[in-house]
Symmetry: C2
Amino acid sequence: MRPLFHPAIEDLKPEAILSALSDRERVAIFAQIAGLGSSGTCTALSNLGGRVIPKSSLSQHMKVLREAGLIRGERHGVEMRNHSRCQEVDARFPGLIAAILGAYGRPQEEANAG
Amino acid sequence: MRPLFHPAIEDLKPEAILSALSDRERVAIFAQIAGLGSSGTCTALSNLGGRVIPKSSLSQHMKVLREAGLIRGERHGVEMRNHSRCQEVDARFPGLIAAILGAYGRPQEEANAG
DNA sequence: TCCATAGTTCAGAAATTCGGAACTGTTGAT
DNA sequence: ATCAACAGTTCCGAATTTCTGAACTATGGA
């Protein structure tokens, strides 16, 4: 598949990041990807909060996170591997991700190293 | 007028804060109130970004900011004076507001002292 | 009382979000 | 090559949210 759209680091918009992370489900997805360090597939992410997220909704969530610049997705074979862009985002907006994940009560151990 | 609803500090929700600040118009309003230190009235805030915000829209924006816990509004005579709750919010979610205002490129000089 | 000012509420239009169904693209088996 | 299975995307209608002009409420002053 042709590569998905990912914004360049200089094109990141704070409002897109905040909007993406103003949804608990997306935060849980993002935190999981950031925490893993790499390679969160959609199916692995579809059952995070005790609720099964419909795959069309999950696909939308991933798109929102991707287009906000928070994650990068690459197809490997039949599946999509997602990893966070925390380092890049943190270089552009220092402390933002850590503060947000911190506010949501996550240990954010990988927030600056994913 | 009976006091408007303001959430207690322990009831603040990160998603409400991020949602409130995922809109540039609201960020501009909030940054202005935080920067002033106190007393932003609606009419003083209605012409921030070169656009005149309709007063019904402005009223909604103020409500969103208020219910997210970012500002406090008190009626003084015929007008409403708004001031930020930055200190309280910062105590609850350290660094969050500074990081957000920083990301939007504001000097946030009052972000921890409003 | 009557008017002006500051802001809120109402209500319909426009935009966004949600999620099941259908679809695309990839791998592996026959 | 054909078929099936799987991972994810796209489509589209329903539900929800946002926007804003118009009407309304509350306060102060003449």
